[in-house]
Amino acid sequence: MAGAASLELVSSIKCFNGFQKVYKHVSKELNCSMNFSLYEPVAANPNDKFHVLFYLSGLTCTEQNFIQKSSFQRFAGEQKLIVVGPDTSPRGCNLPGESDRWDFGASAGCYLDALVEPWSKHYRMYSYVTKELPALIKENFPTTGKFGIFGHSMGGHGAMVCGLRNPELFLSISAFAPICNPTQTEWGKDVALKNYLGEENKDKWNIYDSTELMKTYDGPERNILVDQGDDDEFLKTHLLPENLKAAAEANPKIQVNLRMQPGYNHSYFFISTFISDHIEHHAKILNA
């Protein structure tokens, strides 16, 4: 049951026998009010506990897109997994320049902790996803304490970064069309990393780049599923999955199953086609 003091239930709608909920809370990390979605499967018994999946969405999304457009609920219900969908950035902060670009600022928090003003006070999505939100979920919902993480595009980047840097927290990782190597893209170098972290902090960029993280990763073995459409409009400019694959192949601790899917693009049609495979991937690892 949700703790009444910390969470406000915004909506709860029955879906595939479970409930698609949206909650609101005041985030200490982000210093603002935040929504997140939570799909709760039907409990066979009152004391049932569920493993949890975090799903991180991409640029321009809110907590709504994934729950409406991916049709994941059927498979979360079948695999008995709670699925949590945070928003993609702090909201309502009214920072100058926050809405100037579709790929920076509002709806583009990049799952990092900004170091540069004015972003550093609110744009702390890395800490939100890896510290505050997991604690909130554990405290308020019937969880086993075992988490997995996945995401799409910027959220795929976020899932791999958060998952690789917190192996004891996120036991399973997968991604759809992830941004694999932002330090090597124009978007990363000239927009996101530069403006959030600062050119003077270039030594701190790599900790938000999953390809770079894979090069130095020395934690428990990881088995990561990545689906990527070969007709994806962002493939060559933003995503660079071949770099991720190369880094993984050089690290015996990491297995990346990169599946290039012929004819698929970057859309939710692509995500919905393969979502069941990803949920199964996480369920296998979390149930082991």
């Binding site: 709608i13 029955k14 595939f16 049709s71 007709d231 859309s267 049609f269 692509f270 919905s272 086609t273």
Partner: protein, 282 residues
């Protein structure tokens, strides 16, 4: 007739497409979605289902919010999703109400000014669009029809008035008797008070009363927690079907479900399987 491909995106091995065309019936540019499963051999043809959406929707909502493509691909059925009203036609009052005008064409042919020129969604669904589909896409010529809410009323009306065209019929949270609450805000402005006897032909429960065609089944899902239940009146549909020996109804009241696309997504597989089995081998 010229179709312009607006988009084509791979989904469950098939393609979710959107086309645009200049409709002779609505006399404006119209879009429709079409999901075409992957052909396993050259010349393969598919049965086809029309899905009619509810008020406030366009051709986008159904294709993004239901996940139907998974089942359409598996059952090898083409799905067509028309828009819910004429578009880019600015008429005074067409945005005054969420149940009338833009995105609320009620799948009827209006006979009143200023609507009668463009608001001809009944003829669009039952004449122009099926003909386009037959000419352009790999269909067997066998059609079924399905709908949600206002689209449920539309599906029942279109199928019972054209039983050989739309051979199979299923609906989700259908508006079963809009005449009982929509006389002033829907029927009078579209069809006029002087034509009250013509209103019945666009009301599902009324069309059921006078149906004399081949035996037909109506497969219905409705949420018990539907916020519009008092307007949908599924019991009225059951009652009128019960009095007509040419029709049968299976109404599944789904405990705890509301009117949303989460409800549609949960049960759409059952509907697709129903149509697939009822339309038979292609």
């Amino acid at each position: 007739m010229e179709l312009e491909l607006v988009s084509s995106e791979k989904c469950f091995n098939g393609f979710q497409k959107i086309y645009k065309h200049c409709s002779k019936v609505t006399k404006c540019s119209m879009k429709f979605s079409i999901y075409i499963p992957q052909q396993t051999y050259s010349g393969e043809k598919f049965n086809a289902i029309f899905f009619l959406s509810g008020v406030m929707c366009n051709e986008q909502n159904f294709i993004f919010k239901t996940g139907f493509q998974r089942y359409a691909s598996r059952e090898r059925i083409i799905f067509i999703g028309p828009d819910t009203s004429p578009r880019n036609v600015d008429l005074p009052g067409d945005r005054d109400s969420w149940v009338f005008g833009r995105s609320a064409g009620w799948y009827l042919d209006s006979t009143c000014e200023p609507w009668r020129k463009n608001y001809r969604m009944y003829s669009y669904i039952t004449q122009e669009l099926p003909e386009i589909i037959r000419q352009v896409f790999p269909t067997t010529g066998k059609f079924g029809i399905c709908g949600h809410s206002m689209g449920g009323n539309g599906a029942i009306v279109c199928s019972l008035r054209n039983p050989l065209l739309f051979q199979t019929l299923s609906v989700l949270a259908p508006s079963c008797n809009p005449i009982s609450w929509g006389q002033e805000i829907i029927f009078k402005p579209y069809l006029g008070s002087e034509n009250k006897e013509s209103w019945n032909q666009y009301d599902a429960a009324e069309v059921v009363k006078t149906y004399k065609g081949p035996h037909k089944k109506i497969f219905v899902d409705c949420g018990s927690d539907d916020e519009y239940l008092q307007l949908l009146l599924p019991d009225k549909l059951v009652e009128t079907v019960g009095l007509n020996e040419n029709l049968e109804i299976q109404l599944n009241m789904r405990e705890g479900y509301n009117h949303s696309y989460f409800f549609v997504a949960t049960f759409i597989e059952d509907h697709i399987k129903y149509h697939s089995a009822a339309l038979g081998n292609q």
